[in-house]
Symmetry: C2
Subunit: 323 residues, 2 copies
């Protein structure tokens, strides 16, 4: 029997579940958590949801988020724990140890790097989002979707694909979304809330970032810089910062976008976004890490020192790319 | 026999076609034109493509755009003309008269306001884009899609739905896209080019617009202003302006976003974007027009006069809304 089949059996036979998703929750982790939880409840199961992190404001409107717990209550070792969208146990933060001591840990994820830490693992890296896997599980469990579940899954899948723009989007992704939309969703209202609407502080921060925009290497490298002071003065959050760094890459002709976030006179955080260059390789050379198109590092020293060092490495990588 | 059936027959029986789409070409008009043209060519037909306007830079990479004509050559009255994505004959600009004198005019569109000016009309306002209609026609004509046709249709449908974010997106839209993606498209690369990448001039203009951001009526109205002078100084195009106005609406809590574009000391163009308020009604009160969420008007007088007048009307409408 495959792990997937065993997971289906466990969902059918057990009475009570604890569901957990990862820290720094995103749309996929929250949407998958809510949909899986509500699906199991519809099967008559007792379910408790947890996430080791604050829910970003744009997802709070989703039905059921108010019942998601954040306190690391001791997990009962006899309980069946379902971990969603988490590539390794550390992603569970303070819940980690209690979960890993549980008798049954069902690990459901789409990250190719998943460490298969569960007692049962269902990892499908062809799925664009964990929400796509949850959709398939609920279908197999013959749970009838309602608008709440459909909306949670829509949010899970649309956020992890950047509204179907990223290259992880497949024909199956769109087929699942077609089915979800049949449940009376309004993609216009959801997308406005989730993708387009940002707090005023974000736009003030964006203005500051654009004001200091610099271009290097025949406009192939775009650089923006923000200080902790500016962020605090504008009332912007670290969520707001996340959005800014994408702007560097979106300039026509730019191959590499860099955002320097000056934490203090002796520490600078650096975010990278790239088009074809391997951003994780660049970050790695500076003792950072990340993904191929989005990565980052943290450097000791003042802004000018950090900038020279990062630009030197970036130039080298660009030259290797075009060599 | 329905018009749709007659159109299918005409495509099968005639040998030669002229295809035209509307002025100020967008992704749907260009994508539909290219896909319908290439589909008919695969049926062995002789096809010429025209559009009365410049093709925006982000669509130029599509296969076949270089062969689209812009000169208003006299259309042969015996020729079968196919008009795509154009709600009324005026949208054909300089081609209008020659087209309207043709014996057979096939009018294919998804705008609910389409004036049915063709000798044969196939209007489906439930389609999110004209590209969705073209997909259905090519399927019925048993044209085998290739990557070029699939990419043109993907661009048509994704642009008219804002990458599937707008409320016109339906389950059918996603099902069509699922089929298109089966032809080897890379949604990541296409979306980066079409949605995310903007010229540097756009970001400089955005910085200028954000620098003058003002909020009114308990932050329910956001106002930005740009002068013709700033636009020219930054080298920005009118396309760039189009993108800026959306930023006004995307601020959290904002109900109405307004962009003033000061053409001269005596003329101001105004763009409106709204969340629930009827922007076309507001524009109408100022002798302008548009859609429910996106509208505009043009006012005589200087900036301060125009601003007072627009803000007074906007306040009235907001009060009516909340009354």
């Amino acid at each position: 029997m495959t792990d997937r089949a065993k997971i289906i059996e466990t969902f059918k036979n057990e009475e009570s579940f604890i569901l957990i998703s990862h820290m720094l929750p995103d749309g996929d982790s929250i949407g998958s958590l809510l949909a899986m939880g509500e699906g199991l409840r519809k099967m008559g199961k007792k379910v408790r949801l947890f996430t080791p992190g604050k829910i970003p404001f744009m997802y709070k409107y989703l039905e059921g988020t108010e019942s998601i717990g954040h306190e690391p209550v001791p997990v009962d070792p006899g309980m069946t724990v379902v971990v969603l969208d988490s590539s390794d146990p550390d992603r569970m933060g303070l819940f980690r140890d209690a979960v890993m001591e549980s008798k049954t840990v069902i690990n459901i994820d789409h990250h190719v790097t998943n460490q298969r830490f569960g007692t049962l693992n269902y990892i499908d890296s062809t799925a664009a989002a964990t929400g796509e896997i949850v959709y398939n599980l609920l279908e197999e469990l013959q749970v009838e979707l309602d608008q709440g579940i459909a909306e949670a899954l829509y949010v899970a899948i649309s956020t992890d694909t950047g509204s179907f723009k990223y290259e992880n989007t497949t024909p199956s992704t769109h087929r699942v979304i077609a089915e979800l939309l049949e449940h009376g969703l309004n993609p216009g209202a959801i997308s406005q809330k989730i993708f387009d609407e940002r707090p005023l502080s974000f736009y003030i921060l964006l203005k500051e970032a654009l004001s200091g925009l610099e271009m290097y290497e025949e406009r192939k490298i775009a650089v923006m810089a923000l200080s902790k002071d500016i962020r605090e003065r504008t009332g912007a959050s670290t969520d707001d910062l996340e959005g800014i760094v994408n702007y560097t890459r979106n300039i026509e002709g730019v191959e590499l976008g860099i955002l320097f976030y000056v934490e203090s006179d002796s520490e600078v955080k650096v975010g990278f976004r790239s088009k074809t260059l391997d951003a994780s390789e660049l970050a790695g050379r500076l003792n950072g890490g990340g993904h191929i198109r989005a990565a980052g590092c943290r450097l000791q020293g003042d802004f000018e020192t950090a900038k020279s060092r990062v630009l030197a490495e970036a130039r080298d990588m660009l030259n290797e790319l075009t060599a």
